[in-house]
Assembly symmetry: C2
Homo-oligomer: 478 residues x 2
């Protein structure tokens, strides 16, 4: 780790003012504060400056100055990360590099189905630009109104469309990156096939800014579906939901673009805190699945396919009840139910969150076994289990027992709950971080669960590309 003197920091900040303009070098506490606390308000750091470069060249200039003065840098996009990856440590020795001003759409090539965007473009703007050109940019997640594509790439964001379209990684064809030495790598290739050497692109994606700063990207677009149809299905168990998923894959093939699981308790929690949101079935059911089909032909075709699939599922007893959205508003209401679960959890009080994935075939077994372990260890703990069943990714959260003080509950049980969950995940061949990354939140889990071979490989790469350790130190592999 590099030690920086306060004299060096002052010289760095002064040089940054020259390089990118004093107006874009923030040092006053009321200016820097929004950049120093993460979205979940779990971490508050300090910074010698918040730098807001406007171009790739200015990012490169900043990194060169950071090398000269040995100042560690923390890149930040929309500051919506869930693992503290964009928040500096408390030393005040680090500088935050906000990419928000790199917000240009550089190109859209409809025939190549690509869009070239700078790192600071907000995800929703990418979606909107694509739609205006008759194309779909399928990355979609709760923070899409404020997260940036650079942050999505840095954390390899997932979301609700992964089942069909993949993670951010699978949506990216090329990158522009400022290396830890302050050089610009122009890898902005819009090619579907390119086998000329090591895959640097995928090394930078998901590295959370620890290997360099992503400044622009070529992202893949898809044809805009002619229709999307959403439905809710009620089932007796996660096992039934898995069988239903297999049926949906068989019937709908690549038209299946969403498959979200919500336990009954999730919806009851939504109902408690958002009474205007109605429970979608007459009877209560143990599990609800939200499905979405995206059809390139017509709404009529999608509905026919849906009905055929649901008929099979109802006849075989797999599905207990089902309701297909009649219009866009109802479809929106179904998704709203799903998206209000974390909001309802926040209203209910502090809770222990997990963003885990296991092989899809093991999701039901995982839930069954881990629920039982938690019930034995922490009687009364309330499981808030929902997520992207189609990719094996669950938000497997634990709420304090009814009436128990949440803060005391967390203090007493959080570490134990994490251990139970992650041990169970690993027995099933899963991961402790499916789509939120490692940041600073899960550095210890990474050290604990990765093999020594994998840690050595990761550290060798880090040392090779960033020998001075200036790129987001303390994050990911530490």
């Amino acid at each position: 780790m590099t030690q920086t003197t306060s004299t060096a920091r002052d010289a760095f900040v002064a040089a940054c003012r020259d390089a990118i303009g004093a107006a874009h070098v923030l040092t006053e506490p009321h200016d820097t504060a929004p950049f120093l606390t993460d979205w979940r308000r779990r971490y508050t750091g300090a910074a010698c400056a918040v730098l807001r470069p406007g171009t790739t060249q200015e990012v490169a200039a900043i990194v060169q100055l950071a090398n000269t003065h040995r100042v560690p840098l923390v890149p930040q996009g929309g500051n919506t990360g869930l693992a503290g990856g964009a928040t500096p440590d408390g030393s005040g020795a680090q500088a935050v590099v906000s990419l928000a001003r790199l917000n240009r759409i550089r190109a859209l090539d409809p025939l190549n189905n690509t869009i070239t965007v700078e790192a600071g473009v907000v995800l929703r703007q990418v979606q909107d630009h694509a739609r205006e050109a008759g194309r779909l940019f399928p990355l979609s997640l709760a923070a899409e109104g404020s997260c940036t594509i650079g942050g999505n790439l840095g954390t390899n964001a997932g979301g609700t469309g992964v089942l069909r379209y993949g993670n951010t990684r699978e949506l990216c064809l090329g990158l522009e990156v400022v290396t830890p030495q302050g050089e610009i790598w122009d890898g902005l290739r819009g090619l579907r096939k390119d086998n000329t050497g090591y895959d640097l692109r995928d090394l930078f994606i998901g590295a959370e800014g620890t290997l360099g700063i992503i400044t622009a990207a070529v992202m893949k677009l898809h044809p805009l579906p002619a229709a999307r149809v959403t439905a809710l299905a009620a089932l007796a168990s996660p096992h039934a939901a898995l069988d239903f998923l297999a049926l949906a894959h068989r019937c709908a093939g690549p038209l299946l673009t969403g498959f979200e699981l919500m336990s009954d308790f999730c919806l009851r929690l939504v109902g408690r805190h958002f009474p205007q949101m109605r429970y979608p079935f007459e009877q209560p059911h143990a599990q609800i699945v939200l499905l979405e089909l995206s059809d390139s032909e017509s709404e009529e075709h999608a509905r026919a396919l849906f009905e055929q699939m649901m008929e099979q599922a109802l006849e075989s007893g797999l599905v207990e009840d089902a309701v297909v959205a009649e219009n866009l508003a109802q479809s929106r209401a179904f998704w709203d139910l799903r998206e209000h679960i974390p909001l309802a959890q926040a209203e209910e009080g502090l809770n222990v969150k997990h963003d885990i994935a296991v092989p899809i075939s093991r999701v039901a077994t995982f839930i069954e076994e881990t629920d039982a372990e938690i019930a034995a260890a922490v009687p009364g703990a309330r499981m808030v289990t929902f997520g992207h069943l189609g990719d094996g990714n669950l938000h497997y959260n634990v709420q304090a027992p009814e009436g128990v003080d949440a803060r005391a509950f967390l203090a007493q049980f959080q570490a134990q709950l994490n251990r139970i969950v992650y041990e169970s995940v690993y027995r099933q061949g899963g991961t402790f971080s499916a789509e939120h990354g490692v940041g600073q939140l899960k550095v210890d889990e990474l050290k604990h669960y990765k093999s020594s071979v994998e840690l050595r490989l990761m550290r060798a790469i880090k040392a090779a590309l960033d020998p001075l350790g200036l790129m987001n130190p303390g994050k990911v592999a530490g």
Copy 2:
């Protein structure tokens, strides 16, 4: 580069006999010969031994011995590579490690849609195992009867299904790799989402064995389509073919799984050397597109969609004529036409081959401009232009003028033709190797066309992971 003495080599070979059994250490010329010449017979190397380990542990033991004795290793799968990546140099100092005996299917998880296979499993066996389980493994290429999944991963093989399913990279979820130090990295995860550190998987994929030896992989499966329908469409120009591609994307969305372009001359060449293969249209047409739809519903649905699409294309004048395969045999005949182009080229005589890609939107311009340049520089040169238009990947090959001696033609014009083609490719933002990799064939192109920043990043990674330079030296970045 490491220098090895012949004493050290002898000691290495003796130790390998102990480690994996003398029967699997080949040193006799008639035993080793098949491993020392590449499939195109462009390169013949020498080796101190050809090693045939039977397990991952034996591969690790070999690599550890290679470290002790400083013997460079050249991994080899089915020996079907097109860039000489699996052929040793001529020194006799290197050892070939054939993965052919690592040929077990370790697991197939139908609910997770994954298959876990060892590196030496032949691609067709992976396809067959998947099909028996009602699943599709979509990687498909000419060598599928003899290439291995390890080689496919090492070179990130492409083929005809990339348009819909991606390259080998996109089909892989996890890897097992023996590192250059002879450690085993168990990254055999079958997860759709896993954001826990650097993407080592994609670093090893496409590295052509220069960063370690892939011994097993978890590959993604897809639902088996209910029907596949193939058609040929006749068009006036590559520009029309591009417009037709956009129409097909719009109409068929993710059901479009194949879109191959063949110029008229390609088919005439096939007709000349394989007279039993009939030209599929009554009139000659400048360009032929082979399309394939894969439908999860039914053949009836696929045909209806096809007819709707073709109607639009014919009405708008985009397509001049079209023929839809009536049955599997006819569909097979259409693909045979496509696959006989390289065979017809071989019959016609030596030729200059290129495996290039440009952004899809620039394919037509690329062909137009480069054809003109070549016509000016080498009058009479005959262009054999075909390939995967749906991913912007062309096999843009040049045959000697009619009646001209091919060997003399190559000697005189090959370097000049390569330069014309690659300069044109780079003006269009393309690549000199789309799906065949770099191997030893294109090391000079790599050094010439990659930026110094990218070369430095690649070399830093190579030096960090393989400091002794024992892994397939001389390949990729040299």
